[in-house]
């Protein structure tokens, strides 16, 4: 209770997880909206335009919640992680400042035009606004991932005379190989979230036999995008990400996999419970030599276990890290199967009669949010005990003069505020889904 570090971590973790519930949908949805509008423009089919209009309304709601929950994230670097900001601001300040000036202005300008400007801009102009918003939101995502990638795998920096970090090579820092892989993995996952939400609404309307045209468009677009993106999340992006962790954060890989003992032909534990005090995995089901192959592409490769590293370098919550990772991987596998099944039934023309599958697709939408959250928990817990990997420990990063009670107070404030906001958000989205797509006259009111 008296250690402020715990409350700083809790508050930052809670507010970032909550915040990211919104951008993960808007980034993916921005792409799908562009796709819908492109198809509408090329084929002239009004159902795609109606679908785009409905999804733009959902996008607008999510975007508003994303903006208001995003502002505190920027400030918490200074309020809660002041020592880290002082230490690394000369480097990570670059990408955060770039995000403000290159991405946020783009987004805020074109969001208003996308939501209110359909009549004023005409179909091509409106599509251009959607593309600008896609660009803005994906750019914003890149700057954040580049910042995080520096914390995971610092490159392009120099340590100045006063011990603080300074930038040495901007392009090396911005195009950190870690950032590129993590970005592709993360953006694929955001398309998965958007696709599942789109499919869920389409399936829901189909089950209720309303808005059949827009329901069909949403189902088709969502299933196809969802299948492609679910595969991309696992391969190549997830696989490459895993290999990157294996070579650059080997102790993290060992902890994620519950791999306690070093050795060649390392097995992959599909399930099992890490028993950290006893240094073993309880009740495991193992695939022999598969971990060696995943990490190094060679079944006989030696994979270092946790025993190869001093305990001071172990992630500080191995159990949570292990489960978060396994939940992510397990759900990711199920997503491919579910989207594959849906696409198959669609191709056979049987989807609308497979009511059990429509029920499943309607209520599957929370799981991509869970998988994405678990994925980020894997990345951030796996980075521990470092704030900047290998350079600066999390324990050194918190603000020096903020009392634990003060940090607890603001954490509780966010918990209360975000709880009420969550209820509001769900009620408003439910209202939109119940109302369904609007006609063009209603779509562009001021």
């Amino acid at each position: 209770m008296s250690d402020p570090l715990f409350w700083h971590r809790l508050q930052f973790g809670f507010t970032i997880i909550y915040h990211y519930l919104f951008p993960q949908l808007t980034m993916g949805l921005a792409l799908l909206i562009v796709v819908l509008k492109l198809i509408a423009l090329r084929t002239g089919r009004e159902a795609f335009n109606n679908a785009a209009r409905f999804w733009i309304r959902i996008f607008g709601l999510n975007f508003a919640f994303g903006v208001v929950t995003g502002i505190p994230m920027e400030f918490q670097f200074g309020t809660n992680w002041a020592r880290f900001s002082e230490y690394a601001g000369g480097v990570v300040g670059q990408t955060l400042a770039m995000e403000g000036i290159f991405a946020f202005f783009l987004e805020s300008t074109f969001l208003a035009l996308l939501i209110w400007g359909e009549r004023r801009l005409g179909p091509r102009g409106h599509l251009a606004a959607a593309v600008a918003l896609l660009l803005g939101s994906w750019l914003s995502g890149y700057f954040i991932i580049a910042t995080n990638a520096f914390m995971q795998h610092p490159v392009g920096y120099r340590i100045a005379a006063d011990g603080m970090l300074q930038i040495a090579d901007l392009s090396q820092f911005v195009f950190n190989p870690w950032a590129v892989v993590q970005y592709l993995h993360n953006q694929s996952a955001s398309v998965v979230t958007a696709a599942f939400v789109m499919v869920a609404v389409g399936a829901f309307w189909t089950l209720r036999r309303t808005h059949s045209e827009v329901a069909r468009v949403s189902l088709r677009t969502g299933l196809f995008a969802g299948l492609v993106a679910s595969i991309l999340v696992a391969f190549p992006t997830g696989h490459e990400h895993g290999r990157m962790v294996a070579t650059r954060q080997p102790v993290t890989l060992a902890a994620m996999e519950g791999h306690f003992e070093s050795g060649s032909h390392a097995p992959l534990a599909v399930i099992g419970q890490p028993n950290v005090p006893e240094r073993r995995l309880d009740n495991p089901i193992r695939l022999p030599a598969v971990l060696s192959w995943i990490a190094y592409g060679d079944f006989s490769a030696s994979v270092r276990g946790l025993d190869a590293f001093p305990e001071s370098e172990w992630p500080d919550n191995i159990e949570l890290l292990y489960y978060a990772f396994h939940i992510m991987v397990g759900l990711g596998t199920i997503f491919i199967a579910l989207m594959g099944l849906g696409t198959l039934q669609l191709a056979r023309g049987r989807l609308e009669r497979s009511r059990w599958l429509l029920w499943l697709l309607t209520f599957a939408f929370p799981f991509p949010y869970i998988a994405t959250t678990a994925g980020w928990m894997t990345a951030e817990l796996g980075r521990q005990p470092w704030l900047v990997y290998g350079l600066f420990r999390t324990a050194e990063g918190a603000s020096p003069l903020v009392h634990s009670g003060t940090a607890l107070f603001t954490a509780l404030g966010f918990a209360g505020l975000y709880f009420v906001m969550g209820i509001l958000f769900l009620a408003l989205v439910a209202q939109e889904v119940a109302h369904g797509p609007r006609t063009p006259e209603h779509g562009s009111h001021a």
Partner: protein
């Protein structure tokens, strides 16, 4: 190099205040100048396309501060911890009020968000003004560059320092008056009908209060932070800025009386711009003045990031700034002209 970034960061914060200031002001006057639902929608439509972009100046300015003066960001934000979170929660409430109001066609739902919008739009500039007050008066920065202050004190001149004390709250109320005046002139420019005439009336009522508060704050500042005026006197740039804000104030008064709405609004923008520029020029090179020992103050020199980081920033910042200006030009052009009461559709 530090001087350039001091200037750029101060400029971005100034642009933020001028831009978000008009939508804060419009929000603070929302319940007063717009009485019916259609009028309230007229006010929201007038600021609707702009407010989000305006707020980005805060984030972009904060980003520049982070990049160029990490120690100032770290010490300042953690030192003002609770006040910052109050401000953030107010901004969250305000953003939700603007975005969610139109989603439900129910009079109590809308009345609630109208009230929240007004309260949040009043609190935000008070907190911003108080922040500026803290910068002017100084904070107890220690030898290691950190400080902590209680959120508030008893508000009497004899009590110790608080983030919110009599002086900083006075600065906050001055900021509130300034943005209410600014917002009233913005609405007078961008609306017609009863909203426009009420906004003009509001501006004329606020102006004397604004002038009185400005005199009171200036007098208090001469007592609490005399070095600010020594800085002001020593720098020609500060004289220029002082001239700008006096001319802006006079223009906004004369143009409003002449019915030239845009000129009056621009005059008010010049007033805010000049006032903040004069302040920045007067306090330069100090970011956070230490009330304990001037040597411990955080300045452009001792709180800047390494020179390579500052030089690197100059590679991309100008491009981003030009793009941002281009977006705002597009936005203001596409939304030129007045939001007319007759165009407010029934329903929502």
């Amino acid at each position: 190099m530090e001087a350039i970034w001091f200037g750029l960061a101060a400029m971005m914060v100034t642009i933020y205040v001028v831009m978000d200031g008009f939508d804060f002001g419009a929000g603070g006057l929302h319940l007063t100048v717009a009485r019916q639902d259609s009028e309230r929608r007229q006010v929201l439509a007038a600021i609707g396309p702009f407010w989000d972009g305006n707020e980005v100046w805060l984030l972009a300015g904060g980003g520049v501060l982070f990049m160029a003066f990490p120690k100032v960001l770290a010490s300042g934000l953690s030192g003002f911890y609770l006040a910052i979170f109050l401000f953030l929660w107010v901004l969250i409430l305000r953003g939700l009020a603007i975005e969610l109001r139109s989603h439900v066609a129910d009079s109590m739902w809308r009345a609630f968000w109208d009230g929240a919008f007004t309260v949040a739009s009043i609190l935000a500039p008070v907190l911003l003004g108080a922040a500026l007050g803290n910068v002017l008066r100084g904070v107890p920065v220690g030898e290691d560059g950190w400080f902590a202050l209680p959120l508030f004190d008893s508000l009497s001149p004899s009590s110790g320092l608080g983030v919110l004390d009599w002086y900083t709250v006075l600065c906050g109320v001055l900021a509130l008056a300034a943005v209410l005046h600014h917002g009233a002139l913005f609405l007078a420019w961008k609306t017609d009908g009863p909203v426009r005439s009420r906004s003009r009336a509001a501006a004329s009522r606020i102006l004397p209060a604004l002038a009185a508060l400005w005199v009171a704050t200036t007098m208090a500042t001469t007592r609490l932070a005399p070095e600010v005026f020594r800085g002001l006197a020593a720098r020609p740039l500060a004289w220029l800025a002082t001239g700008l804000f006096l001319a802006g104030l006079a223009t906004s008064y004369a143009a409003r009386r002449a019915g030239r709405d845009l000129l009056a609004f621009l005059g008010s923008a010049a007033f805010l711009l000049g006032l903040l520029a004069a302040t920045a020029a007067a306090v330069y090179p100090t970011w956070l003045r230490s009330t304990l020992d001037p040597v411990w103050s955080l300045t452009a020199a001792n709180a800047a990031a390494a020179r390579t980081s500052l030089v690197t920033g100059l590679y991309w910042w100008p491009l981003g700034f030009v793009l941002a200006l281009a977006y705002f030009t597009v936005l203001f052009r596409l939304h030129r002209g007045k939001v007319r009461a007759s165009e407010m559709p029934e329903g929502h």
